[in-house]
Symmetry: C2
Subunit: 315 residues, 2 copies
């Protein structure tokens, strides 16, 4: 049974114009084997980008928005443009090879800059990006139990992204050592996750999630132009909220105001997860509401609307 | 001929107390082959640490200071303590397998947190760090031609490291996407390298180097407690300067003052490289002085003194 499917992608087709047949697009390999060269820039430098979502009963949640964000990350780190058609076909091949009863395995698309041209092994390479796609039913899967949260500084002022694009704020890179460190800090503090804020007190995002606050009938999330990811699951939640007759809003959101929200939602990987405590303050949540939002997202009901939601449609 | 040597290390011996024979310490593998699993945390998260130096005619420059810094990085990212003896023996085995005429190949020691326990492949693993060591004569090697430099903001205030240890400032992690982005920004601006500074105007370091300024007979470098790496080659240069009767100084160094230095030195990987321009201002340098410093460092003359040099011997 294939509970974990790992496909090595054709970098020239997925990040270039090379047309290849399905047979040459993805090579399925043993997930437990050795499949990456030690001089790959993913290994040596975390120099690459990725996207992650859930495949629910064969349907890759928000795939198009994930590919658009992958394209944005690629532009920010000077990688070639992703070929949406080739990557989508690759994702389909990986999904086709999956046959575990688990309905919601995790999908990840990983792209590195290829072999490091500053090493002897990479020097002669043609700088083709390394691409691989996996589907995994056996790792940690999402749960919708409410989680506790602490706020922590990200260390940057809110205007830094415009002034210093080399910080790559807003690109989803493979350099996640900081994000991992925040989660270890959460474990030390005995909380489930963290929400980051700027030195001047504005809400950013969680280490691998977006944050949405609810005030009455209005759902609010930080404007991504502050230097955070443009949330894919967050846009699905916004689409659901709008379908339910609520208002949605992108803006600069003071962390002090976030702490006073009526409800808080953490969104990532195709899921909405309720937050029941922030910085020690208890928050109300509705398991029914969460179940309805996730059901709408996983069934594809919110997909089309989510494609046109954004702060000012720049994303 | 072995111009590139890649050895996969025994993680239980190198990051634990397991005693193993030399035969079980390092496994030499084909550098051009597949040698890493795709679910390794180096690949997926840049979640690991490393050190890099030059092996000059068989002598690994500053190895003990590199291992001390590796231990400091390990502590900062909650990895087990490195076993200096096992890693040193592993480095020796890799050096023994090298037989290219190039006298100064690059050595790198790479450590990741192992397979990702949040994936199906990593879930059952025992969280042994992945370790590999390579020696490479065929990649980009150091040169001592003078380079031009531009200063850029790091986005952080100078007091952030103490307040937010989860930023991992001062740890040498595998998450180098930012460092790579700074180098691409340098290429766009037509300069050789960058020196970073804090939002309140204090000098930090270069993306993969330390910076040393000379004012008369005093060599000055930023105090690492500001949240930068404790430079290994920088300490070798300080040891040389002191042997030559000069003064050395660690302190908070305003970027404005750096720009007014008599001379500037970039140090990394066992080398001192002169800077001949910063932010458009031309700087004097002496090729003789640079050659003498590098000769002293590569011959091991500065090694012992460099071990006891530091801002206040905390490092």
């Amino acid at each position: 049974m294939s509970s974990i499917v790992l496909g090595m992608g054709n970098g020239k087709a997925m990040f270039g114009d090379e047309k290849v047949s399905d047979a040459d697009l993805i090579t399925l390999v043993d997930p437990n084997g050795l499949n990456i060269n030690a001089f790959d820039l993913s290994v040596l430098r975390g120099d690459g980008i990725f996207e992650a979502t859930t495949v629910w009963k064969g349907y890759p949640v928000s795939l198009e928005n994930h590919l658009r964000r992958l394209a944005q990350s690629a532009a920010m780190v000077d990688l070639p443009k992703p070929n949406f058609d080739a990557i989508t076909r690759g994702v389909e091949q990986v999904i086709d090879a999956y046959d575990d009863p688990e309905p919601g395995p995790l999908l990840r698309i990983i792209v590195s800059r290829g072999l490091d041209p500053d090493t002897g092994v990479g020097k002669a390479s043609d700088r083709t990006p390394t691409v691989f796609i996996f589907l995994d039913a056996k790792g940690t899967l999402h749960e919708t139990d409410p989680i506790t949260m602490a706020s922590m500084t990200r260390g940057y002022p809110s205007d830094i992204t415009e002034r210093a694009p080399w910080l790559l704020n807003g690109a989803k890179t493979l350099s996640y050592a900081f994000n991992c460190a925040v989660h270890r800090e959460c474990a030390r503090r005995g909380v489930g996750d963290a929400v980051l804020y700027t030195e001047d007190g504005y809400t950013l995002e969680c280490p691998n999630s977006s944050i949405v606050a609810r005030y009455g009938d209005t759902f609010v999330t930080p404007d991504p132009s502050i230097g955070i990811l443009n949330g894919t699951s967050q846009r699905e939640l916004f689409a659901w909220a709008r379908q339910e007759g609520k208002s949605i809003e992108y803006r600069k959101l003071p962390i002090a105001e976030l702490r006073e929200a009526d409800r808080l939602y953490m969104t990532h990987g195709g899921w909405v997860i309720p937050v029941n405590e922030i910085d020690g303050r208890t928050l109300d949540y509705s398991a029914d509401e969460i179940a309805q939002a996730n059901e709408a997202i996983h069934s594809g009901r919110t997909h089309d609307d989510a494609l046109s939601i954004g702060p000012d449609y720049r994303y």
